[in-house]
């Protein structure tokens, strides 16, 4: 190595250092600390603090509430992301074909997306109100027990989430649609492709990468979903809308079981990491073929 190369290396290290330090202080340190906490029985207000090994995890393995929360998280994530992608693409296509009022449509979409989740949840709390809610009034009084029926509550929460976050997917897709050159469509028309053919052979494949990205973001968000169910149902009825993050919150902040709550958080973290890794692999594979 020449002296110049060595100097370059040193400079590079100095340049990278702030990022590494910031990440270390803000991500790695708390992460390791949570991991360490999860191996303890720790309840500070009762002066309980002892090393417990994998006790918390062993309890989680047989904890029906944990598995119910895991199932709820999975259903919520799959349901909300699938609906968001389908409706998002549909909305983007609809706006693209619209002749007038595109700006208005986009602003309306953005309005829902810009609304804080808690505000959206409060809004839906009123819409779902059993006797005075707009939805039930439209259906006739006391038609559906939206937030109190174990079979309906989770779909109701998913619907509220889809309403709020579908615009995110729609706007990303719309931006990509604008970037598809018109001559591609003209060529397709010359070749005699119908509307359906154009959609499945040209538009959707060209949307592929941006959709994958949007899905990645939405999936990670959905796996950590908290505010919408916390406000709407508090996790009920019967814990059917309690996600892993709500369960972790109850353990950590309501009952101050720092060890047990950390164990739940670690599971959420691993889950999010695994999903992110899988998506990134997909994205990379896509980059090679494209």
């Amino acid at each position: 190595m020449t002296g110049r190369e060595a100097a370059d290396r040193r400079r590079a290290l100095v340049c990278v250092a702030p990022t590494v330090l910031a990440l270390g202080a803000l991500t790695v340190y708390p992460g390791v600390w949570v991991l360490w906490l999860s191996l303890q029985r720790r309840i500070p207000i009762f002066d309980v603090s002892r090393f417990a090994g994998f006790e918390n995890y062993a309890f989680l393995a047989v904890d029906s509430r944990f598995w119910s929360a895991a199932r709820t998280t999975a259903v919520f994530t799959l349901g909300s992301v699938a609906l968001e992608v389908v409706l998002g693409v549909a909305a983007a296509l609809a706006i693209q074909t619209q002749r007038r009022g595109r700006r208005l449509a986009l602003s309306l979409l953005l309005l829902a997306w810009a609304m804080p989740a808690v505000v959206a949840a409060k809004l839906f709390e009123w819409l779902y109100h059993p006797s005075a809610g707009l939805i039930n009034v439209a259906l006739g009084r006391h038609a559906i027990n939206w937030l109190g029926d174990p079979l309906v509550a989770l779909p109701a929460v998913i619907f509220a989430d889809v309403w709020r976050t579908m615009p995110f997917v729609a706007i990303l897709c719309y931006a990509r649609l604008l970037a598809i050159p018109a001559d591609v469509y003209e060529a397709a028309q010359v070749d005699g492709a119908g509307r359906l053919g154009t959609l499945t052979r040209i538009t959707l494949p060209l949307l592929g990468r941006i959709l994958l990205l949007a899905t990645l973001f939405r999936t990670l968000d959905a796996l950590r979903a908290f505010d919408i169910m916390f406000v709407l149902t508090g996790g009920g009825p019967a814990g059917t809308t309690e996600t892993l993050t709500v369960y972790a919150y109850r353990a950590l902040f309501q009952t101050l079981q720092l060890g047990f709550g950390s164990a739940v958080s670690v599971v959420v973290f691993l889950l999010v990491m695994a999903v992110a890794w899988a998506y990134l692999r997909l994205l990379r594979a896509g980059a090679v073929t494209a």
Partner: protein
């Protein structure tokens, strides 16, 4: 131009000097500032600002800053534990939900008030309110406002069918059937209560346990000492929903949801706290003059009905820099005069028994003497430092039994197992 700029400079400099002087002067006479954390009080007029100014007038050099807590009880609790565990001395006097007192006392966050109390100082309060402020034989807070579970009923409807308020739930069910058959109003529900998965559900289930002669915790700390009776109580509550005596949405109902349904004239019976009475008697209420309350019913072969007690207490932070003044403020706010002002200005009930027969109070609230008898009979929820852990653990199980996706026996058994794992660490 130059002159102008110079003038501007000079005035800036002067301003700076003034500000600096102001700081110094402020420090010299720095009045003691007490911070009081409380949740804003609902009602026609918030009486607290005036009460705080009164305290300042009586204690020259002391300023009291009232700071609002978040709206929801869960958020208030979270606010306290983050700040108290973080050793922040940000406040001196704090409003506490009575179920937190033993927990905060155990954590060492509250000042032990026992040495400063005069003998019999707490005697004028309801005994259950004093019990809720006591943990380990010592007093950690002063009782401030009081709550007890009541059975509201439509006096007009019961009178129309020649019925008296029910003493047992079995009678209540029978009365609901008779009245609904006679009224033929499909929008008229029978008995509404709180079945959403939250603290209110635990309160309602505990009351059902007591009516059925059992408890969630025995004196020796046994969890669900009589599981069969507990399961039977849950099955009964589920039956109310299944048979349509209580509407299906009971499983999503909190205090306000059920209060509104009853207040709009859509229910015959309601379980709720005393605050609802003032709202039912309000100018624009649909049920004005048609509502009365009675003790919660018992069970035909169980015990008499008992309402759960609740309410707020005032505690002094152990990290307060002015513990004597802070205690004086807590005393002032829980005094008879202050509780009278709060009772008159807001829909809250006092913990001092004399106020239930106070001429000024009864003029505005004629039901107070009756309320006193029911409040005296009320029973507190378990007074243990791990109450929130207990409540958060049983909530989804009770809710599962109510919505019918778990047999009551299994809900009780699984709640017991989970509680056992968590409690083994803390006791």
């Amino acid at each position: 131009m130059v002159a102008l700029r110079r003038a501007a400079h000079r005035s800036l400099w002067l301003l700076g000097l003034l500000a600096f002087g102001g700081c110094v002067a402020g420090q010299e006479t720095a009045p003691v500032t007490l911070v009081f954390k409380y949740a804003r009080i609902l009602g026609n007029a918030d009486p607290l600002p005036a009460l705080l100014r009164q305290f300042e007038a009586a204690h020259p050099g002391v300023r009291v800053r009232g700071e609002a807590l978040p709206w929801a009880s869960d958020d208030q609790h979270q606010f306290y534990i983050i700040n108290l565990e973080g050793r922040s001395p940000g406040f001196d006097v704090m409003m506490l939900d009575c179920i937190w007192v033993p927990e905060f006392a155990r954590a060492g966050w509250l000042l032990d008030l026992t040495p400063s109390l005069k003998p019999d100082e707490l005697a004028p309060h309801f005994p259950s309110a004093v019990a809720e402020a006591t943990y380990g034989g010592r007093v950690w807070a002063l009782p401030w406002t009081f709550n007890v579970g009541l059975l509201y009923y439509r006096a007009d409807l019961l009178a129309k069918y020649g019925l008296r308020p029910p003493e047992t739930y079995e009678t209540l069910v029978e009365q609901v059937r008779r009245i609904r058959a006679g009224e033929r109003d499909p929008t008229l529900d029978g008995y509404v209560w709180q079945g959403k998965q939250y603290e209110g559900l635990v309160v309602n289930v505990l009351e059902a346990f007591w009516a059925n002669g059992t408890r969630v915790l025995a004196e020796d700390g046994t969890i669900f000492p009589e599981p069969a009776r507990a399961a039977d109580a849950l099955r009964f509550l589920r039956g109310l929903i299944e048979s349509g005596v209580s509407p299906a949405w009971t499983t999503a109902a909190d205090e306000e949801l059920s209060r509104r349904a009853f207040g709009d004239g859509h229910a015959i019976f309601l379980r709720n706290w005393p605050y609802a009475m003032d709202l039912f008697e309000g100018q624009d209420s649909a049920v004005r003059g048609k509502v009365a309350f009675a003790p919660l019913p018992g069970r035909a072969r169980g015990e008499q009905g008992v309402g759960s007690t609740g309410g707020a207490h005032l505690g002094v932070s152990r990290r307060s820099r002015h513990p004597d003044l802070a205690l004086a403020l807590a005393r002032h706010l829980t005094s008879e005069a202050a509780q009278r002002a709060i009772t008159l200005g807001a829909a809250l009930s006092p913990t001092r028994q004399s106020l239930y027969r106070d001429p000024e109070v009864t003029r505005d609230h004629p039901a107070m003497p009756r309320l006193q008898a029911l409040a005296l009979a009320g029973r507190p929820r378990p007074i243990v430092p791990y109450y929130l852990l207990l409540s958060a653990t049983v909530q989804p199980e009770f809710s599962a039994a109510l919505v019918g996706i778990k047999p009551p026996e299994r809900a009780i058994a699984e709640a017991g197992t989970r509680l056992g794992y968590f409690l083994e660490a803390v006791r």
